[in-house]
Subunit: 338 residues, 2 copies
């Protein structure tokens, strides 16, 4: 089936640009693709599928007749506009944090809980980047042996803070190496050759908003509030791709070969795991890839039913654009099925 | 008391240079300080305490009459030379990994197990940098509530690989930003704007040598093999200072205020912990400091008796040079006591 009109909101942003590239690459079945952005970017022309498309200003009334829309906007824009657009009949896939925890909004990772889209009432949310790559790994382990506990420390790239974050890292690093000052706009502290142990704002008992997303979104996506999650989210001076050191405790013991087999058979996961040959996932190798890459799989030395591993994924792709496009593809397939 | 002769082996290396600076700053009580290095560096002149000191080639027989020596060398050099030097009567403080696990060699962090130096037979080892800063934090928690389990993910700086590591990171980053190729010498993969999830070699069931040091050395220093430790060691593109995301489970529950008080009262720890004000330890702020810095202290959301925190320390100072100089100071004080 082919839909008539697909819209992309935030088409000029870091994620929006990748959404457009993916729609073209994956030959998304829409007769027409319309692009929206803030007033500031409206009027710009963007090349898409060999055509110049003019970016329209984001106004709710413009969405009449649009079947599906993929929105990559700041939380406040999503909060103000997306419900209204959905109420007019457009199915909205939202990449922001605005609607993820709303009871009537499914939070979907297609490899993990595709069935959740059935319950949508016009709005479907894509999870936070650090959650998405983690739950892709957790799901097959949970199915196999029931996860009881997750301890995760992240190594998150500058691109998670958008184009401004990438610019900050590049310009800030050049300035530091040249001994010049640089004023960061996307980060509260200098990121060049440094680490910032805060992503988001103070949220809950000393945890940041980014960390609590990894707890609450994981519960919602896996449909299991009993899984205990302890996250630590750290910004690292890496351009793109988030990495995570993940420890999982399961109810039934899984051996390392079993875990490797489970990951190997799971949708959306590529295993790169040969320490003796210096092979494991690294941000520079995973950028522009859609999969979640896993390596350094080993038994947890600190418990009897644990496994620990290293997980890297392109946060702009699987962590945002790819996941949203996959949800939109699910929607089109669901229509076909009806 | 003042000793006659102190020697510094590896005086031209990254750690050796800091050892010299610390000896001068802390007015180490030695009448004469002699400097040793490999044949390649011998003959060089190094300014120390307003004098030019000529670097001597490392030969065991040259150490007769030297009371104490601080050695910062590769493991193989330490393995070949240091036992012989100790057998001639010099007390050797070794920063390498060669002798740490030998039964007759105390492994000492002065804030943690100063009493262990009593048993020495000429050789005393200083722990691996990633272990040292962690056990400084673990010791007061272990005393207060008995630690049962530690899960740690590290964020280790380029300087841990010596001057070559720092050069690699700086030159590699410049080259990457300028679009030029660069051949790394200290790392098996490019480190610029990247992460390398391997430090050391494959050692034990998928864990690296660096990771197993954090297990075995922690057991030896705390004198308790029953503490279960699960480490993940990652190299990050940071010039200097190792950071660690540490989760600790204790036998008796400790509240966050209790943990903050315990750290606040502990020797060698500075607490920097005010998330709402964006204050926490970061590598750029901790470089050239001797303390271990702790922040982001919070209750473990994944267990009933856990606490998690973020720990940063200058790996060349407390992780190496400072700890070794502190051990040498302990030795001098012990002589005075006799």
């Amino acid at each position: 089936m082919v839909i008539d009109q697909l819209a992309v909101i935030g088409a000029t942003g870091a994620v929006g640009q990748i959404v457009l590239r993916l729609l073209a690459e994956r030959q998304f079945p829409a007769k027409r693709v319309r692009l929206f952005a803030s007033e500031r970017s409206a009027g710009k022309s963007i090349r898409f599928r060999d055509q110049d498309v003019t970016v329209e200003p984001l106004r709710v009334e413009s969405f009449r007749g649009i079947d599906v829309c993929i929105a990559s906007t700041p939380d406040d824009v999503a909060r103000d506009c997306l419900r209204g657009i959905a109420e007019q009949g457009t199915i909205v896939v939202d990449e922001s944090g605005a609607w993820r925890m709303a009871a009537d909004v499914p939070l979907v990772v297609p490899e993990v809980n595709p069935e959740a889209i059935r319950g949508h009432r016009g709005l479907i949310a894509s999870p936070n980047c650090s959650t998405t790559q983690m739950v892709v790994c957790l799901k097959p382990l949970h199915d196999a042996a029931r996860i009881r506990r997750v301890v995760v420390s992240t190594y998150q790239a500058a691109s998670g803070a958008g184009i401004g974050g990438q610019t900050d890292l590049e310009q800030g690093t050049r300035a530091l190496l040249d001994g010049r000052p640089y004023n960061y706009s996307a980060f509260v502290h200098p990121l060049a050759l440094n680490l910032i142990p805060q992503i988001g704002s103070a949220k809950h008992e000393g945890y940041t908003s980014e960390e609590m997303k990894m707890v609450w979104e994981t519960h919602k996506i896996l449909g299991d509030d009993s899984i205990r999650v302890c996250p630590t989210c750290i910004r690292v001076p890496v351009t793109n791709c988030h990495s995570e050191s993940i420890l999982v405790e399961t109810e039934r013991k899984l051996s390392v070969p079993q875990v490797r087999d489970i990951f190997g058979a799971a949708a959306g996961i590529t295993v790169v795991d040969d320490l003796a040959a210096n092979r494991y996932p690294m941000p520079r190798d995973c950028t522009n890839q859609d999969d979640v890459f896993v390596g350094r799989i080993r038994e947890d030395l600190s418990s009897d039913c644990g496994v620990t591993f290293w997980c890297v994924s392109d946060n702009l792709r699987k962590g945002a654009a790819t996941n949203a496009v996959q949800i939109a593809e699910l929607l089109v397939r669901a229509r076909t099925a009806v």
